[in-house]
Amino acid sequence: MKRVVPLEKACETELYGSKAVGLGQAIRDGLPVPPGVALSGSIVEAVAAGEESAIKQVVKWVTPLGGPLAVRSSAVDEDGAAASFAGQHLTLLNVPSAEHLSSALSDIWWSANSDSAITYRQRVGLFTRPSVGVVVQTLLNPDAAGVMFTKNPVTGDDERVIEASWGLGEAVVAGIVIPDHYRVDRSGGVLERTPGLKRVAVRGVAGGGTVEEKVPAELVERLCLDDSRLGELHRLATRCEEVYGPARDIEWALAGGKVYLLQCRAITQAGR
């Protein structure tokens, strides 16, 4: 079905994919998620095929979000129990506005239908027609961002593990910095603060896309998060576990003095 719904109304995984439905659930449970919409796999395919009516429908829904936009794939079987498509399907940050969305959606659709994605599918025994939903959200301009495990993914200890860097969280996810490393116990007490080596920050640029920006020397080894922010992240972890269950892998961002949840999924066996 060719559908676009506000993120908080995305309930059907088979239409919108697990990422969209997970974020929808987060909003319904009062978690701080940036505003956005969910696009079904069928409407993404229709836009990739150049269907005018589908393009108009998407632009109508996305225009109120303003810009710039974060456009993330939400494959129907993405991050499922059998296989993770992380790294196969595209995420496009800093798409300037709704008018630029068609080519972004086409790129995402093709990323799910690329040779490498198909090779991966064959390898994991999922040689089936891919369906890729999409989440479109207002792109934050974070001061800092990163990942958080609600349980230590390496030792299994019952503590929060937080990694943080300046700017967009892609610097941490893509491994282009050594992030700050923090551990926080179940009562919110800080167990460890180890500054990283954050020579670059990923930031949006005017006109679209992102750039790796040089970090001022005095910030390279300065901690991104103080104890008050760590406390907020600890509370976010607690809420995520209440909503989704234990052992969560969270992507977060700190923008305008507020902590946002960008993604929450189960910790995989091997951690990230």
């Binding site: 086409s106 093709w110 490498s116 198909i118």
Partner: protein, 131 residues
Amino acid sequence: MEVLQRVPLFADLSEREVRQIARLFKARRFAKDETVVKEGSGGAAFFVIESGEAAVFIGGKKISTLKPGDYFGEIALLDEGARMATITAASDLLCYGLTYWDFRPLVEANGSIGWKLLQGMSKMLRAAREG
């Protein structure tokens, strides 16, 4: 639609049939020097070139150049095997692509397309034997 009508593979189809299959194709742009398909990788789609040129390499050696109207990528879709060549965009390239899931039913339903694919592969086989 106009692009597909110019492609020899679809030359025997009626206008209505071309219109039907045109709905299945999706535009895909590649920047100059971008790898379009890679030898040894699994195959996801079949492409026809609308504009630009692409270079074909096998084992690192350049074999040929593809131009508007040419098609590629069908072999890995037919046998569900690995790509037999690496193809890179020799200029900015606009292709129309058809994924495996649409390509197979299209060929199964259109004998003339299947016949032309066989003719194309026969030519390739003969050229390979003749060295």
